[in-house]
Amino acid sequence: MNKVEASMAGTVWKVLVSEGDVVDSGQDVIILESMKMEIPLSAEIDGKVSKIMVNEGDFVAEGDVLLELVGM
C-alpha cells in the first residue's frame, strides 16, 4: 500500500486518475492548487489506484491522504 499525501494545504484542482487505473511511478495523479500555483502530485510506485479520498474542489491540509495505491 502506498499513499499520496498533500504536500501542503490547498484545494484539489484536478484528479487525473480513477479508481482501478494502473499508474507508473512518477506519473502525476492529482494536481493541487495553492498560493495560486499548480502542485502536481505523483505516484511513488508502479501500482493500481485502490481508493481516491477526495473530490475536485475539496480543501486539504498538509499531510492529508488523498489517494491510495496498491503495488503491482
Binding site: 501542503m8 498560493m35 495560486k36 500555483m37 502536481p40
Partner: protein, 512 residues
C-alpha cells in the same frame, strides 16, 4: 640520557596512540567506523605540521588513553585549524574531567589563533561516575558550550557527527555553524529511547528518536547527510573552502571556472506561465562556476534552497525559492533555515545573492498556529541586519512579504534587479482582483462576471508592469537572462569594498 628513558616514553606514546582495547576497534570496524586517528589523517592535509597537546591526559589510569579525546592543531586546505575528536574506543568516547579540560583548551587555542574549530563527535556523553569533576564546575562541560557561543561568528565551527551525541553532548552540534551527519551511525538526542521509555513511557527506535536522516530532513538539526565517514570528512573540507579563517578576513578568490557545459540556459529553464513550477537548482547551475554548489540543509524545508557557490571564483551564498516544492512559499521551517544561512554568510563576509520566485509566506491555520509571523520576522531581521553585499534578483515573482524577505528594495540590497518576466506586487492578479472587487463580482450577473474579472486582471497587470516599476526607480534595472551571470560577476567585484554598520546598540531583541 639513558636510552631506557626514551624507550619507555616511546612505548607509552605508542600505547596511548593505539586507543582503546582491540574489541572496541573491532566493534568500530563492524559499524563501518574509522579509528579516530584515521579520521584525522583524512581530515587534515597530509605531510603538513600538526601538534597534539594532552596526549598523556589521565595516563596514570589504566584503559583511558588520552582520556578519550584527541586535540590537535593542524592544516586543512592549507589553513590552520583546531580539532577535537572523540575516541569511541575509549569508554565509548565518554567525557571525564580531563576530556572536558582538553576540549576547553583547544577551544581557547582556536580563539587565540582566530582559526576554525572542528568537533569530530562520537561520544556516549558524560561519565556519570566522574560527574562532580566534569559536570557542574567552572571548567566543567558547560564551559564547552559557553565557549562555543562566544566563538560563534568569530571563527567557523564545524561538527562532524560519526556516532552518538547524547544528552548535554548534543549541544556541541547545536552550537556549530554546520553539522555533517553520517547516515545510520550518527544520532543526537537529549534522551535515548531507553531513557524515554523509562521517563515518559514512549517506545521508539534510535533512528526515530534522533537518527541522522531524521535530523537532516525533519528537525533541521543536521545540515548535510553523508553516506559514510569518508564522504562526511570530504564535505567538511569542501565546506571550509568557502570560508575565511575568521570574521576579520574574506574568503580568497580562486581561479574562475565557466558554467557547467551542456546545461539548459535560464531562458529555457524559467517558464512563462507564473503558475507552473520549475527547478530553481537548474537556474543556479546556469549562474555559477561548474560544480561549485555546496548545499546546506538540502533535505530540510526544500521550498528554499540555501548554499555556497563560486561565481567567477568568488565565494557567494545563494538563497533561492524552489517553486517545485510547496510552491516556493515560505513556511516556518524555511524561514528559519533562511535566517540561519543569512546569519552564517554575514558573519564570515560572504556576499548574498537572493533569487526570488515567491508567491509569499504560506497562509492558513496550520502555519499561523506554528507562528509563521514570528518565524518570518526572524528571516526578515537576519536579512535586514546583513551588511555583506546583498544582491536581490527577482526571477519570476515576488509577492507580498515574500518581496521583503527576499531582500526587496526597502531592505537596502546593493541592487534589486529583475528578469524581464518578473512580477512584483502585494499579491498576484487573481487574488488581488478578488480581494478588491469581491462584493462587486458577487453582485454581477453570471454572464458578466468573467469579462469583468478578466478586464480587472489586465488593468492590474498594467499597474504592476515591470517597466513602470523600473521607471519609478523601484528596481534598479531589468536584465536579460543571458546577461545575468556577467552582471553578477561585475557587481560582486564592485561591491567588494562595501563596509557598513547597520545600527548602533548592544544587540537587537531577536524575533525567535
Amino acid at each position: 640520557m639513558n636510552d631506557q628513558w626514551t624507550k619507555e616514553l616511546k612505548e607509552r606514546v605508542q600505547k596511548i596512540q593505539a586507543g582503546g582495547a582491540t574489541k572496541y576497534h573491532e566493534k568500530n570496524a563492524e559499524q563501518n567506523k574509522l579509528f579516530v586517528r584515521d579520521r584525522l589523517e583524512l581530515l587534515l592535509d597530509s605531510g603538513t605540521i600538526r601538534v597534539e597537546d594532552g596526549l598523556f591526559a589521565n595516563c596514570m589510569e589504566e584503559g583511558l588513553p588520552a582520556d578519550g579525546v584527541i586535540t590537535v592543531t593542524g592544516k586543512m586546505n592549507g589553513q590552520t585549524v583546531c580539532v577535537m575528536a572523540n575516541d569511541s574506543t575509549v569508554k565509548a568516547g565518554s567525557w571525564g574531567s580531563r576530556t572536558v579540560e582538553k576540549i576547553i583548551r583547544i577551544q581557547e587555542t582556536a580563539q587565540k589563533l582566530k582559526v576554525p574549530m572542528l568537533y569530530l563527535v562520537d561520544s556516549a556523553g558524560a561519565r556519570i561516575t566522574d560527574q562532580l569533576e566534569m559536570f557542574p564546575n567552572r571548567r566543567g562541560a558547560g564551559r564547552i558550550f559557553y565557549n562555543q557561543v562566544k566563538m560563534s561568528g568569530m571563527v567557523p565551527q564545524v561538527c562532524i557527527l560519526f556516532g552518538p551525541s547524547a544528552a548535554g553532548g548534543a549541544y556541541i552540534p547545536a552550537f556549530c555553524d554546520i553539522v555533517i551527519m553520517v547516515d545510520k551511525n550518527a544520532s543526537m538526542y537529549l534522551a535515548s529511547p531507553r531513557m524515554a521509555e523509562m521517563v515518559i513511557g514512549q517506545k521508539v527506535t534510535l533512528e526515530e528518536m534522533g537518527g541522522a536522516r531524521m535530523h537532516c530532513s525533519v528537525s533541521g538539526c543536521g545540515d548535510v547527510l553523508a553516506k559514510n565517514e569518508e564522504e562526511a570528512i570530504e564535505m567538511a573540507r569542501r565546506y571550509l573552502s568557502y570560508f575565511p579563517a575568521n570574521y576579520k578576513q574574506k574568503t580568497s578568490k580562486i581561479e574562475a571556472k565557466s558554467i557547467q557545459a551542456g546545461i539548459r540556459s535560464i531562458e529555457e529553464v524559467v517558464p512563462d506561465n507564473q503558475n507552473v513550477a520549475f527547478d530553481m537548482k537548474e537556474m543556479i547551475r546556469a549562474l555559477i562556476d561548474e560544480n561549485s554548489f555546496f548545499e546546506m540543509k538540502e533535505l530540510f524545508a526544500k521550498e528554499i534552497i540555501t548554499g555556497f557557490a563560486r561565481l567567477d571564483g568568488r565565494a557567494v551564498g545563494i538563497i533561492a525559492n524552489q517553486s517545485k516544492m510547496k510552491t516556493g512559499s515560505l513556511f516556518v521551517d524555511s524561514a528559519d533555515k533562511s535566517a540561519r544561512f543569512i546569519t552564517l554568510c554575514d558573519a564570515f563576509n560572504i556576499p548574498l545573492i537572493f533569487l526570488s520566485d515567491i508567491p509569499g509566506f504560506m497562509i492558513g491555520t496550520q502555519v499561523e498556529r506554528s507562528g509563521i509571523i514570528r518565524h518570518g520576522a526572524k528571516m526578515i531581521a537576519a536579512m535586514s541586519e546583513a551588511t555583506v553585499p546583498k544582491i536581490s534578483i527577482i526571477v519570476r515573482k515576488a509577492y507580498g512579504a515574500g518581496l521583503y524577505a527576499m531582500a526587496g528594495p526597502a531592505f537596502e540590497p546593493d541592487c534589486c534587479l529583475a528578469l524581464p518576466t518578473a512580477k512584483i506586487a502585494v499579491m498576484g492578479p487573481e487574488a488581488a482582483v478578488n480581494a478588491v472587487y469581491s462584493n462587486k463580482i458577487a453582485q454581477l450577473e453570471e454572464s458578466e462576471r468573467n469579462e469583468f474579472i478578466q478586464q480587472k486582471r489586465e488593468e492590474y497587470q498594467e499597474d504592476i508592469n515591470l517597466y513602470r516599476l523600473a521607471s519609478e526607480l523601484i528596481i534598479d534595472g531589468i536584465i536579460a537572462p543571458n546577461r545575468l551571470r556577467d552582471e553578477l560577476k561585475e557587481r560582486l567585484e564592485l561591491y567588494e569594498s562595501k563596509e557598513m554598520i547597520f545600527s548602533e546598540r548592544k544587540h537587537p531583541v531577536y524575533p525567535v
